[in-house]
């Protein structure tokens, strides 16, 4: 081959790299390891992880430990799917294109929207893309975000727009001792802050505390000033709850990891993004559309590409290129397996089991109530021992405890956000409750 090229050595092919730039030493890296050595090496690392296969996970806060049907990975890890690139050549990519079309359909169905894209990185990026869309659409610069929105999303929002001309303002939630609506968006503050400068209002339901928000009320407020309503919704919960679209949202976004994707230490996750009709051509990311082939048969292609970076460059609706297609495929297969009834069953079990855990914890007398509004899958309580301490102790019993809310909500010092999915059995919940109780009684 070198002869064909007319070079003496491979090194010669690198002659366009100036001599002074050449690395004249070996990279300081370990390896090479053979497969077997690598496996041993990694097993050694992994043994320091307390994973949810042998620890009971009651931690949520944006990523959830749901039951994942076995069939999923037998399909997603078909090599034709996972070793393909983005389907630029539609004719040899009908598999993933059709699946993405199905994904888009399912997302619109869940959210009550008119169109969805083929995925974004995660819930956080879906939120900032939505904000960007809104600001560009109505040429306003102010965005109101409920403090009950996942703090990770809010932090990302703040960072991304820190030096841009978009301003993020936060709206409080109603504090614990302030009645039946405690834990939900403070509508008074919303009314106060909203104005004709407001590009969009961002609200999450179930919110970060697991509490279901009144999307309709917020959206009505937003409509009054022609601001867009961005609803952040958990897709599992949409098995029982009315879709944000029906409740008035203009954009529905969120994290779809719970749809069959493993927690993976937080990544990859799966951002979904759906809009009402007026905003379709402003959507970020890949969109798959139906068309026909030369012979009139149905087929699928990437479409509306004139929005995208590879064509519009700086004028693109977003910079996203690589997305989370395989996670979207996972979600599509998850929803297909669960079906309408299965999704409803998961959602209902989440409600039943989280409520059972909540009541049981309160019953111990050592765990106090915090909010009053009804919740989905996740709830806030205040144990008599600080969550940080409590979690550390629970780990000894192979329990991954809830989220310490004081990290992000100083006013909720001592509060604990506990997630209970359909995966937890009554026995496991009772085990948690007993351990919490005895740790507290032990007076640590």
């Amino acid at each position: 081959m070198l002869k064909t090229i007319g070079a003496q050595s491979i090194d010669e092919l690198f002659s366009s790299i100036p001599q002074e730039l050449r690395l004249n030493r070996e990279l300081e890296l370990p390896g090479p390891l053979s497969e077997h050595e690598l496996r041993k090496h990694v097993k050694d690392i992994v043994k320091d992880n307390f994973d949810a296969s042998w620890n009971l996970c009651f931690l949520g806060a944006g990523v959830y430990d749901h039951i994942i049907p076995s069939a999923i990975k037998h399909l997603v890890f078909r090599q034709e799917f996972y070793t393909a690139y983005t389907p630029y050549q539609a004719e040899m990519s009908q598999g993933i294109l059709q699946a993405m079309f199905e994904f888009q359909t399912m997302i619109t169905e869940l959210t009550g929207m008119d169109a969805a894209n083929a995925s974004l990185y995660d819930g956080a990026s879906a939120v900032y893309e939505a904000v960007l869309l809104a600001c560009r659409h109505n040429e306003r610069k102010e965005v109101l975000v409920a403090r009950s929105v996942n703090p990770e999303y809010r932090k990302v929002l703040t960072s991304v727009f820190k030096y841009s001309d978009i301003e993020i303002k936060e709206i409080d939630y109603i504090m614990p001792d302030k009645g039946a609506k405690s834990g939900t968006v403070d509508m008074d503050m919303l009314k106060e802050l909203i104005s004709d400068k407001t590009a969009a209002v961002v609200v999450q339901s179930p919110n970060f505390f697991g509490i279901v928000e009144d999307i309709k009320a917020v959206s009505e407020k937003a409509k009054e000033v022609d601001a867009l309503l961005i609803a952040v919704c958990d897709p599992i919960s949409l098995g029982v709850f009315e879709s944000p679209g029906k409740l008035g949202a203009d954009i529905a976004v969120g994290e779809a990891q719970p749809l069959g994707n493993p927690m993976n230490f937080g990544g990859p996750l799966l951002g979904y993004f759906a809009v009402k009709k007026p905003y379709i051509r402003r959507m970020p990311g890949r969109i798959v559309g139906e068309t026909t082939d030369h012979d009139g048969r149905r087929g699928f292609v990437l479409t509306l590409q004139a929005r995208e970076q590879h064509i519009r460059r700086e004028k693109a609706t977003s910079n996203i290129c690589t997305n989370q297609a395989l996670c979207a495929l996972t979600a599509t297969i998850y929803l297909s397996i669960m079906g309408r009834k299965g999704l409803l069953d998961v959602a209902t079990q989440c409600i039943n089991k989280s409520n059972y855990a909540y009541q049981s914890l309160l019953k111990t007398g050592n765990v106090a109530k915090v909010f009053d509004a009804p919740f989905f899958r996740e709830f806030v309580v205040k144990p008599a021992v600080h969550p940080e301490k409590l979690n550390e102790e629970l780990l000894h019993d192979s329990i991954i405890g809830g989220y310490d809310l004081s990290k992000e909500y100083p006013e909720l010092e001592g509060c604990w956000l506990v997630a209970v999915t359909e995966k937890r059995s009554k026995d496991e919940i009772d085990f948690l409750v007993n351990k919490v109780d005895s740790i507290i009684k032990g007076g640590i």
Binding site: E20, V46, A124, R313
Partner: protein
């Protein structure tokens, strides 16, 4: 054998395929708890099918797809190298896949070790001080890098730097990322060598320039030979240099962006580091930064103290967060395995052979195809189908004919500065025999284009569908199925 139905079209009322444990706790009265108005009123149109329906549906869909495991995939810029199977197995271990990101670090030392070590490994490969693994893809790496550039200038009370310079050969994500973060984008032309036009650059450098984004080797597969000069010029005017590492596969172990004067560099783990692209994603786009920029890295940063890994959030100058948690962890695990499997010499050899393979194809096609910048290339090169286009055979036609020959076509119509561009990147994982048969296929097409161009206008013929009407799709968008 054709079953064109969507999964929705296979739905049968009442059919189920799921398996859940029974509800073993008291049933909550959902209507009473939430109030009816908040509950879904219309039935969800999620398909009702059995497990075997689902298995057959998606198995058959997969058979209409082509991955790098199906055959040669010289998709330029995308670096479709082989994805070793061991890495998949390791990423799927419960000890990784079933970890919650917010667990107490005491219970996730293994995950944190991987993050910590990957930071170090990538820093070494890039010649940077430290690396954040947070960005989910190259484009998000760019955003992160640009945010750091902004933060850096702001920290120095240098508020007037609003411009980001990108060459006209740059990838679309570069200007798009700059725009998302709020920069003004200035594009500079390439010169007759296919490289950054130094004079044009000179002309626009001033104190409003925040930075320059550059791919090196660039999207023509050519090394920016003047890079040291360029970096000096940009630095001299107070700007920073961002390295788009999509082409890092060309130079691992040979040269490092840090040594070239870049201040920030991303790598696409789903390209250079062999993680599968998943039919669109997920990928990962870690970025490395020079010493001065370390304080601006997103939080958290993984630190090691007395053998214990912890997450450092207490970084006052940090730009904050760009993505939830710590990035696409399971993608990072795969890349970690790749680096350990290859070792330092293996990585260097990968680049060496990638470059060898690209030049070999280039040489073998240069007589039949126009190659605008025809000199020794790096890991990829761009040819132009202008000669063929004169006969009516476009790059698109050639691409569709390659499908019928069993190949995934190269990237076409990119970079934008080459007419009828076909960007060919063979990668190091392809054998000489594969290259030869691809060359043969390309040569046959060139001959046919010259002799019987009409015969090339009807491909593909062997794919699941014939040529699809993209214009129709965009004109009258059907973006979801309806009953």
């Amino acid at each position: 054998m054709r079953d064109e139905r969507l999964i929705f079209e296979k739905s049968v009322e009442g059919r189920t395929g799921y398996s859940l444990p029974p509800n073993d706790v008291p049933q909550v009265d959902i209507n009473a708890l939430f109030g009816e108005e908040i509950l879904r009123k219309t039935e969800l149109n999620i398909p009702e099918v059995s497990e075997v329906d689902v298995i057959r549906h998606y198995t058959n869909l997969s058979r209409r797809n082509f991955g790098v495991d199906s055959g040669f995939y010289p998709l330029g810029s995308c670096t479709m190298k082989y994805n070793p199977k061991i890495n998949e197995d390791i990423a799927a271990l419960d000890g990784f896949a079933q970890m919650h990101p917010l667990q107490n670090p005491i219970s996730s030392q293994g995950c944190l070790e991987v993050l910590y070590r990957m930071d170090k490994y990538l820093a070494e490969i890039l010649g940077m001080e430290r690396v954040t693994l947070q960005p989910a893809a190259g484009a998000q790496g760019e955003m992160t890098g640009l945010m750091i550039i902004k933060a850096y200038h702001m920290s120095r009370n240098d508020h007037k730097r609003v411009k980001i310079i990108v060459p006209d050969s740059s990838h679309g994500t570069n200007p798009a990322s700059a725009a998302v973060v709020g920069f003004d984008v200035v594009q500079i032309p390439s010169d007759e060598r296919g490289l950054v036009d130094i004079n044009a650059l000179e002309a626009i450098l001033d104190d409003t320039v925040a930075g320059l984004m550059l791919t090196n080797p660039n999207t023509l597969g050519l090394f920016e030979e003047d890079i040291l000069k360029i970096s000096k010029m940009v630095h001299a005017c107070g700007g920073l240099l961002y390295y788009d590492g999509a082409n890092m596969n060309a130079i691992m172990g040979y040269a490092r962006p840090g040594d070239m004067g870049f201040d920030i560099a991303h790598v696409n783990l789903h390209k250079t580091f062999s993680t599968p692209h998943g039919g669109g994603g997920p990928g990962a786009g870690p970025i490395g930064v020079s010493k001065d920029l370390v304080p601006f890295l997103p939080v958290p940063v993984v630190e090691k103290k007395d053998g214990y890994y912890n997450l450092d959030y207490d970084r006052p100058l940090s730009i904050g967060k760009i993505k939830s948690f710590y990035g696409n962890f399971s993608v990072i695990v795969r890349a970690f395995c790749y680096i350990l499997s290859m070792g330092p010499q293996g990585l260097k050899d990968a680049s060496g052979i990638a470059v060898l393979n690209a030049n070999y194809i280039r040489k073998k096609l240069e007589d039949l195809y126009e190659i605008p910048y025809n000199r020794t290339c790096m890991h990829e090169f761009v040819l132009s189908a202008v000669r063929q286009a004169e006969k009516g055979v476009t790059a698109l036609d050639l691409a569709k004919n390659l499908i019928d020959k069993g190949y995934h076509p190269p990237t076409i119509y990119f970079p934008l500065i080459v007419k009828e561009a076909m960007m060919i990147e063979p990668t190091e994982t392809e054998s000489p025999e594969t290259l030869d048969s691809f060359i043969e296929a390309m040569r046959e097409l060139a001959t046919k284009a010259a002799e019987e161009p009409e015969s090339l206008k009807h491909a593909p013929k062997t794919a699941y569908v014939s040529r699809l009407d993209e214009v129709k799709a965009a004109r009258n968008p059907i973006l979801k199925w309806s009953k």
